[in-house]
């Protein structure tokens, strides 16, 4: 059924997964084989609707989508994915690309728009770029989420102190502003550095300045 999947079944389960959607079996198989040669896992889908319903949204990877398919246009699939908040980059393939189609695809959020028959280097490079981008974007999101969780552990007083530190005030000034002794401020400061898992003022500002803005 899917020689590419079978052949590269030995890869680690967490390696990126490429979803390939094309109604033509020959195109699906050959592209899957080609993509497999650079060590990317491929899951091929003949039916766009089944793909939308069942594919793994949490995984790292990218989507290769044919524009011209019976029943549903690739552009519609793309728009549906974007509307559902899918963050995997989408590479569109088309046999007969018009400027208008290209414009619409990019406007809808396509990462790349390639013409069939597709050059292997172009496709593989586009896929690798897409995967890299996706990994980075996922990491950034994870970092944001972690920061938010740690910030949530701070006490009310610690958040006030943090806000003033980020605003550039010294311990003495913070103590005056909050009616605390500089020693108490120093204690809060040490505590919040510990809770937020940072070891320098620079790191603190880089990761948490955005959170203090919102209060």
């Amino acid at each position: 059924m899917n020689p590419a999947n079978a052949h590269h079944a030995g890869h680690a389960p967490l390696s990126p997964l490429i979803h390939l959607i094309d109604d033509d079996a020959a195109v699906r198989d050959s592209l899957a084989l080609l993509i497999g040669t650079v060590g990317l896992r491929v899951q091929a889908w003949p039916d766009p609707q089944a793909f939308i319903e069942r594919f793994d949204r949490q995984g790292i990877g990218a989507i290769v989508l044919d524009v011209r398919m019976p029943g549903i246009s690739g552009l519609t699939v793309l728009e549906t994915l974007v509307a559902q908040g899918v963050d995997q980059p989408v590479i569109m393939l088309t046999g007969h690309g018009t400027v208008e189609m290209c414009r619409r695809a990019f406007k809808a959020g396509a990462a790349e728009f390639l013409e069939k028959p597709v050059n292997d280097e172009q496709l593989l490079e586009a896929l690798q770029n897409a995967v890299r981008l996706h990994v980075r974007s996922r990491e950034r999101h994870q970092a944001d989420r972690d920061a938010r969780e740690r910030y949530a552990q701070l006490s009310e007083r610690e958040r006030e102190v943090l806000g003033l530190i980020v605003a550039g005030l010294t311990n003495k000034e913070i103590g005056r502003a909050l009616g605390l002794s500089p020693r108490t401020v120093e204690t809060h400061r040490a505590n919040l550095f510990g809770k937020l898992e940072v070891d320098s003022l620079a790191r603190l500002i880089r990761h948490y300045a955005a959170l203090t803005d919102g209060g």
Partner: protein, 488 residues
């Protein structure tokens, strides 16, 4: 057909309305002219009669003034010579002083005359055609007996009383003297004229009347007008139909071209997709195979499978092309040929291209000495000629002046021949061998299918199409087709 008849009915209705309206106007003009003539004649009659009655007054006045022969015997009286001078005066009577009129009517009239100081009537008898006029004077008074018919100056009378349709009478207090009877025809229009004579002493009315009968209307002219109108409408209708037909033909032509382009576009898009899928598979498979072979160690089995798949997909692409060829293959035209006159076909095509020619300031010349009939499929022939003419016109666009386009029809047994000759830039020598190849075009935006199609059509009809250079400049396209068997 029903629609056609409805249209014709509208035209006939329009003709009827216009003919009736025009006829009414014509009849009114005619009637107005008749009325004017009638009134002029009636006025002439009135004037002539007035002159006469005034004359009677004058005669009486003269008699009264001169009192001729007052002393002599009645027989010798000079006034008795008047009837000889004036035919209308039948008798002159005289009442001398101290005598009485024999007729009391004359006596009464004399009394009235004396009172009014002018002549007065003493008995009008229009039935007998006469009346008497009395003038009181001193010492003698006179009376004239006047014959009405003789009073009329027939020599100067404007109408022939025997044949004129106008009835004319002299009327006085209920009596009427018929001057001319006229002809009373049944009709719709009656003219009337009534006027007092210009003499107080003889207060007669000149009454004229005329009835215009239906038969007096200018039927000949009305018929002529209606016929002319029908002819004009028929001509107009013909012109309009011709224009509509022309417009329709042009529209069809344009639609045909658009439809052809649309079909071609669809075909190209479909073909692109059908071919792209296997080509994509072939390319991806071979590229995958190349990468697999470059691995260390090479993954031979997988690479072999990829190559097999590439071969299979290449075959699929070939099948697509074969299917396409079969789909667009034209049916054999050789069985559908019929006898066609070449000059007719050329004229048909030129008629359709008339606007294109005018737009480019080209006046095509057709040289067709004798009728040439060939075996051809008419639609295919029209298409070839149309394409050749369009090509020539497009070539002529590139030459600023002396845009000459000649179409020559002749025979070179067993072939009938059409040559389309233009004075455009001609065909470059290196392009000449390729000019009938599909997708070869020297024109920017040209599909390069027109001449290729023409050649194929010509071949299918058992003919040929050739291109060459024209001297001193331009191109010649020669279409040859087999002469029809009955051609002389």
């Amino acid at each position: 057909m029903v629609r056609q008849w409805t249209l014709v009915r509208w035209w006939i209705a329009a003709w009827a309305v216009l003919a009736l309206g025009g006829g009414a106007v014509l009849a009114r003009i005619e009637l107005a002219q008749m009325r004017e003539a009638f009134e002029t004649n009636a006025r002439i009659m009135h004037r002539l009669l007035s002159q006469r009655v005034v004359q009677h007054d004058a005669i009486l006045a003269t008699l009264a003034l001169l009192q001729p022969g007052a002393e002599g015997p009645a027989e010798a009286a000079p006034e008795q010579r008047l009837p000889a001078l004036y035919p209308q005066i039948l008798a002159v009577q005289r009442r001398d002083r101290d005598t009485e009129w024999a007729d009391p009517a004359l006596a009464a009239a004399e009394r009235e005359s004396r009172q009014l100081r002018r002549a007065t009537l003493a008995g009008v008898d229009f039935a007998a055609g006469r009346y008497r006029l009395v003038l009181a004077a001193q010492p003698a008074s006179f009376a004239l007996t006047i014959d009405v018919r003789a009073m009329v100056p027939w020599a100067e009378w404007p109408l022939d009383p025997a044949t004129s349709p106008v009835r004319a009478t002299l009327e006085q207090s209920g009596q009427a003297f018929v001057l001319q009877p006229g002809q009373v025809a049944p009709g719709n229009w009656t003219f009337e004229f009534r006027k007092h004579l210009a003499a107080d002493s003889q207060p007669f009315d000149v009454v004229a009347s005329r009835t215009v009968g239906w038969d007096e209307l200018p039927w000949g002219r009305l018929l002529l007008g209606a016929t002319a109108l029908a002819a004009a409408l028929a001509w107009l209708r013909h012109g309009l139909r011709q224009r509509a037909a022309h417009a329709r033909a042009e529209e069809l032509l344009r639609l045909g071209q658009v439809a052809r382009l649309n079909t071609l576009g669809e075909l190209a898009a479909g073909m692109a997709h059908e071919l792209n899928q296997p080509l994509t598979a072939v390319m991806a498979s071979t590229q995958a195979a190349r990468r697999l072979l470059a691995d260390d160690p090479p993954e031979l089995d997988t690479a072999r499978g990829a190559i097999d798949q590439a071969v299979e997909q290449a075959r699929r692409a070939a099948d697509v092309v074969g299917r396409l060829r079969r789909a667009v293959e034209r049916p054999d035209l050789s069985g559908q040929t019929q006898v066609v006159d070449l000059a007719d076909a050329v004229r048909r095509a030129l008629y359709l291209l008339e606007p294109e020619c005018q737009r480019r300031g080209v006046t095509p010349v057709v040289e067709a000495a004798t009728p040439v009939t060939v075996m051809a499929e008419p639609v295919a022939l029209d298409q070839i000629i149309h394409n050749l003419l369009m090509n020539a016109l497009q070539a002529l666009e590139q030459s600023p002046a002396q845009r000459a386009l000649t179409v020559r029809v002749d025979r070179q047994a067993p072939w009938g021949r059409i040559q389309v000759i233009d004075s455009g830039p001609g065909i470059a020598p290196d392009a000449l061998p390729r000019i009938f190849e599909p997708f070869f075009s020297t024109r920017a935006g040209g599909l390069g299918l027109g001449l290729s199609l023409c050649e194929t059509l010509a071949l299918h009809m058992g003919g040929a199409l050739a291109a060459g250079a024209n001297e001193p400049r331009g191109a010649v396209f020669t279409l040859t087709l087999p002469l029809s068997p009955d051609a002389p």
